[in-house]
Each structure stands twice: as structure tokens, then as C-alpha cells.
Amino acid sequence: MAIPIAYNIRNLKLRKGLTIMTALGIALTVTTAVFLMALLAGLDKAFVASGSPLNVLVLRKGSQAELSGGFDGALFPTLRELPGVSKNSKGEPLASGEWVVVIVLPRKDGTGEVNVSVRGMMPAGLELRPNVKLTDGRWFTPGQREVVVGKNIHSRFSGTNVGDVLDFAKGKWTVVGVFDAGGTAYDSELWGDVNQIAADFDRQGGYSSAYLRATDPVAADALKNRVSDDQRLKLEGMLETEYYAKQTSSGKPIQIIGTFVAIIMAIGSCFAAMNTMYAAVAYRGREIATLRVIGFSRPSILTSFVLEALLLSLLGSILGILLMLPFNGLTTGVGNQVTFSEMVFSLQMTPRVILISIAFGLLMGLLGGLAPAWHAARQNILTALRG
């Protein structure tokens, strides 16, 4: 027969101080784990949501990123006229030759200078990214030294309000607008006219990348193969979504360090939980013996104590998640290892993160509670009753 769970709850309530302190210890570990997982979830989301499955990115063969090298501008007209490229209302193909360069901007909070990506694009570049919305000001005018800034750039760097003037490359650039790309990688970029940017960085006559918008997913796939297979072009096509999926590796250092920290802290908390449960068992020696005398079996005593440890760790996990809740949505930056520039993303406490951290907390409780519960179940009735 099983011992009712109410018995465990009452026991935890009886020794309030001990319960709260142990639960807090577990809570701190869970908080750390939630924090790290939310960070990774946010990073994943930013990269996965970036890119449209209809957009085909074209790079020079062998090039891994938009930053490394470029190709001859004379190839662009060929790309533009490829079958499967969709057209806008005026009948112009949605294709944009672009340059991505990196500049250094000082952070608003004064914690140093950060590399930031600047993307020069053709007017069609805006049309083939329909998910990007202007929130303030207007788009840049081709032929002018004007830039629009992503919302993360706007919030993290000074001098990025509409009307401000930024000083980079060969002179001054006017900020004319702010855009929102829905938390994707584009939010960490500045956009301007491709010819202006190429001129300022001495890169006329070529593009680092080209974007083609296909009419449908099948056409996108065909377009990608066509570009890669054409021996004369020496170019490589890939879906924009594939390109960003590769960049999630930027989160690797956080993931490795985070896992390590969480595991070490969890081991420490396990020992603490074990201590508390041993104390609970020692304190209730006579009580356990009485339960045995009444007729509760060893397995049911074992289960009861394990349950109590699980309850304790569940309390800790919930506390830990609550502690982290105010930080949900907080934005932070990480260096993108593909573009060498800062990529801003927000902490995302997704249901998955919460479920995993509860499981993580329960595992600590289980590991910490098993040995004391075993000890409780194996106690000799007579000695325990006398003690």
C-alpha cells in the first residue's frame, strides 16, 4: 500500500526553513540552466527565422560567407534573367546584387566597440525581403549617402536615430529610417545603397553576394542548382534559410560553457539535496519504523521518500523558473562567427526550455533522494524504534 502524498507535503511544511533553503539551492541551479537554454533558444530562433525559403543566395564558389571575397559584377545580369526569378508589378526581376562589409560602432552603454554588418543593396533588395517593415522614417534613396538601421542597432548604439549622422568609411552617412525584421539577423544590420557602399569601401565592379527571389519553393530549388551547376559562372547558390541554419554554430561556445556550468552546479545541488533528505530520514527514524510496524512495505517507504525529494526539487525548479521570468525577452549580443559582427537576440523562455529545466530539477531531486530513501527503507525496525 502506498503512503499518501499528503504525508510528504506535511513533512516538507513542518521543517520550513530546511525545505526553503534546499529548494532555493536547487532553484539557483535551475535558474542558471534556464538562463543558458533561453539564450540558446533565442539565438536559434533568430537564425532559423532569418531568411526566406524563396530567396536564393549566390556567392562565389568556395566562399562560406557573404563577407569573404566577391564576384565579378558582369555576372549579375545573367543571374537576374535566369528563369524562375519572380518579377515585381513593374515587370522587373526581384534580384539584388549586394555588398556586406563590417564597421565598428561604439556601444551605447560604453562597454567598448563592436563590429556591425553594413549591407549595401539594390532597390529590389527591399522588395525581396517583404517581412522587413519600416518602423520610423523612410527607406534610403539610391545614390544618396543614407542608411536605414535595424531595430537592434537602433536600441544598442548611439547616433542611430532618424536624422543622426554616422561617420564611417570615407565620410558621413545620414540615418533616414529604422526597420523591424522580426527578431532575425537583419535586425543587427545597417542597410544602404550598394553603389555608395562599394565606392566607400573600394569594392566597385563586383558584389559579395546576390539575392534572387524565386516564384515558388520548387523554382527556388531549381534556381539554386542551376547557379551552382553552371561551370562558366563559378558561383554557388544556396537557399537563404540554409545559409542561416549554418550560422547557428555561433552559439557553440555558449552552449559548451553553459552545459559545463549547469552540470557542475547540478552535482553540487544534488549533494545538498542528499544532505537534506538524509536529515529528514534521520529525524524521522522512529516514525519510519512505526510505518513499517503498521504494515507499510519497504518499497512503499522508498517511494515515499523519493517522492518527497522530487516534491522538494519541483518546488526548487518552479522557484528557479520564476526567478528567471523577469529576464525573459532581454536582449543581448553575441559575435556571429560567420559575419564577424555582433548579432543581437533575445532570451526566449520557450515551453521546451521550461519543460527541460523542470526535468533537470527533478533529476537532481531523484539523484539526491534515492540514496537516503534506500537508507530509510532498509532501516532495522527494532533499533529504529528504540533510537
Binding site: L18, M21, G112, V114, F201, P253, G268, N275, G333, G335
Partner: protein, 383 residues
């Protein structure tokens, strides 16, 4: 029985509890020590004496922009500059794009490279061979170990930034004070293969005549190219390396918050143990009082006991972290990150001090309550 003996004896009266507490505290202290070591490596250490004498010059706009190669001779004219060498990132692919096959490849000038990187050691005959073969390459000894390279082996690199592939022959193996995971080849090879690479450099490594002159040289170099179309940014080697750490995100806040969480968790664990252990001994307190122990003395006994347990945990944890860093520094991949790091005696002392403080704080409240209890009341107390 002396008082110290009494304290240590009672600290381990419940062996299992004390051991669990020590273990729990030591795991927390491992983390604390590691975090402090990383902090020290990033923000406090100035690097080796040779490294402190070196500067890195790059394009003012960003690392991805080139600076003209003719700057090299101009830099030489700055007072305090001993040697200058170009270092251009090649970013080629060795075998495949897998991260375990990644290492840094720089195009440089073999004639002057080891005159700037004076702490990199290479046998004279290997250096001479490298200088003679334009398609030669010298590799870090740790990297050679990892890939099983020997002098005379071929390395093929597929270019990503430069549209060319390099077929290099290993002419020498150098040892650096810290693992660099780098190979160096003659940049002329790239210049001859790629027209637009001619006369360009990624960065310049500069050796100053003393560490004190480094800021002066940096300022003079940047002033020299201030109004040119290619302005530069020159900083000490350490500052240059730190700019990569900064790209990992807000590392300082990250480390601090982990340290805070760890210290607080340790405090909870220790306080928990002391509360349990002191409550059990209410009757013992009364006995001690009957024997003539004053309140202050009893307070001291219990605080000492908690500190003993915490300090043992601290010593175990920090020593374990010490061993861990030593092992990690040799590991492939993350070895680069832990390369120059070491748990110094100072860090160990701070870790142990923190654990002592935690022990002290955790015992203060329960001991105070225990010491205050009346003799009769205490003697009547049943567990």
C-alpha cells in the same frame, strides 16, 4: 582535548553529512575558481613580457578591410619600433569545413616574422629552409602533434577569401609559449596567385623596444595614417585579443552572475548544514554552558566548525579546478581558450577565503541562537 581538536572533531561528528557538505561546497568552488581564472586571463593578465612589447595594427574600419603593404616601411620610421611584419588571415579550408579541422593560417614575411614574434622558437636550419621555399609553411608544434605533421609533409588549403588554393610544404615546426593553433606561410605565394591581393596586408605585427613604449608607438602609428584613405587602429596584442572575447557577448556580466549564483548557492548549502547540526546539539550546548563555557566561546566553537567544513570544501574545489585548467589547456579545440591560463596562488587564496567567509556567514545566525539558549531549557530539549 584542545579547542581546535574539539572543533574539528565536532565538524565531522556526522561524517556523511560533513562529507556531503564538503563535496557540495567543493563543486561550487570549482566553478568559482574557474571563473576567476578566466576573468584573470582576460582582464588582469598582461601576457608574457614579449607579448606586452607587441602591437597589432589593423584597418580602422574593421578587421575585414586591408591596409596597404607600403605602410610597413613607414611604420619602421616611428621611434621605438624594432620590427614590423604583415600578418594576413587566409581563412582556407584544410580537408573539409568541419570545426575540428579548423586552424588559423596567416600569410607573412619569413625574413622578419621571428624577429617580431621573439618568443616563438624554431631551429635555425628549419627557419632557413622556410625562408628559401616560397611555398613553405611553419606550423605550431601543438598543431603538428594534433594532425601528426612532420617536416616535409604537404598541406593543401582551399581558399575562401582569396580565389586560390595553396599547396604548402612544412619546412619547420615552432614552439610558442601558448598554443596558437596557427600556421604561417609566405604571403608572396598569395600575391602571385591573386592579382588584387598584391600589396595588401590584413594586419601588421609590430615589436616595440619596450613595453612602456607600446602606447606611444600605437598613438604615433595611428596619427601617421590618420588622414589617409586607409586609417588604422593600433593596439597592444592583449587588447587586440580581448576584442575577440568581447565578441562572445557581455562576458563580464556573464562571469559575474555565475560567480554570484555559485557563492549564494554555497552559502545556502553551508547554512543548511549548520542549522541542522546545531539544532541537534541543543542539549550539548547546555552541557557546555554548565561546564563553564561562555556564550562567546560557544559561538566561536560553532562558527569555527562551519568554517572548517567550508574551508576544506574550498581547498578541495580550488585544487581540483587547478588540475582541471592544467588538463584543459592541453585539450584540442578549447585548449586555445585556456591556453595561457593558470590558477595562480592568488586565485587559490581568494577561493579559499571566499569559502571561509561563506562558512562564517552561514554559522552566525544558528550559532547565535544556540548560544543564547538557557541551560535548563536546553537540557530539557529533546531532538
Amino acid at each position: 582535548m584542545t579547542l581546535t581538536r574539539f572543533v574539528t572533531k565536532s565538524a565531522f561528528r556526522n561524517k556523511r553529512r560533513s562529507i556531503l557538505t564538503v563535496l557540495s561546497i567543493s563543486f561550487s568552488l570549482i566553478l568559482l575558481t574557474l571563473m576567476m581564472t578566466i576573468w584573470r586571463g582576460f582582464y588582469i593578465d598582461k601576457g608574457s613580457a614579449e607579448s606586452a612589447q607587441r602591437l597589432v595594427m589593423r584597418h580602422r574600419v574593421s578587421l575585414t578591410n586591408f591596409i596597404p603593404g607600403y605602410y610597413r616601411e613607414k611604420i619602421r620610421t616611428i621611434p621605438g619600433v624594432v620590427a614590423v611584419v604583415p600578418n594576413s588571415w587566409f581563412g582556407g579550408i584544410y580537408k573539409d569545413a568541419k570545426p575540428e579541422n579548423f586552424f588559423a593560417q596567416f600569410g607573412t614575411d619569413p625574413d622578419e616574422f621571428f624577429k617580431v614574434f621573439t618568443d616563438f622558437k624554431i631551429p635555425d636550419d628549419q627557419l632557413a629552409a622556410w625562408q628559401r621555399d616560397q611555398a613553405g609553411v611553419v606550423v605550431d608544434s601543438k598543431l603538428a602533434e594534433k594532425f601528426g605533421w612532420k617536416v616535409g609533409d604537404r598541406i593543401n588549403l582551399k581558399g575562401t577569401i582569396y580565389p586560390t588554393n595553396l599547396e604548402l610544404t612544412i619546412r619547420g615546426i615552432f614552439t610558442a609559449p601558448q598554443p596558437t593553433q596557427s600556421v604561417y606561410f609566405n604571403f608572396k605565394y598569395v600575391e602571385e596567385a591573386v592579382a588584387w591581393a598584391k600589396g595588401q596586408a590584413g594586419t601588421f605585427g609590430i615589436l616595440a623596444d619596450s613595453a612602456e613604449n607600446v602606447p606611444k608607438v600605437a598613438a604615433a602609428a595611428d596619427a601617421m595614417f590618420h588622414n589617409s584613405p586607409q586609417p588604422t587602429k593600433t593596439e597592444s596584442e592583449k587588447a587586440f585579443q580581448l576584442s575577440f572575447v568581447a565578441s562572445l557577448g557581455n562576458v563580464k556580466a556573464f562571469i559575474l552572475s555565475i560567480c554570484l549564483a555559485v557563492v549564494f548557492a554555497t552559502l545556502l548549502v553551508s547554512a543548511n548544514t549548520m542549522a541542522m547540526s546545531i539544532r541537534e546539539r541543543t542539549r550539548e550546548v547546555a552541557v557546555l554552558k554548565t561546564l563553564g563555557f561562555t556564550r562567546g566561546k560557544i559561538l566561536g566553537l560553532y562558527v569555527g566548525e562551519a568554517m572548517t567544513v567550508a574551508v576544506i570544501g574550498g581547498i578541495c574545489g580550488s585544487l581540483f579546478a587547478f588540475a582541471m585548467v592544467a588538463i584543459l589547456a592541453k585539450a584540442p579545440g578549447i585548449g586555445l581558450f585556456f591556453g595561457g591560463m593558470q590558477v595562480t596562488p592568488g586565485t587559490l587564496a581568494v577561493a579559499i577565503l571566499v569559502s571561509a567567509l561563506v562558512g562564517f556567514l552561514s554559522a552566525i545566525v544558528p550559532s547565535y541562537h544556540a548560544a543564547k539558549i538557557g541551560i535548563v531549557e536546553g537540557l530539557r530539549y529533546i531532538g
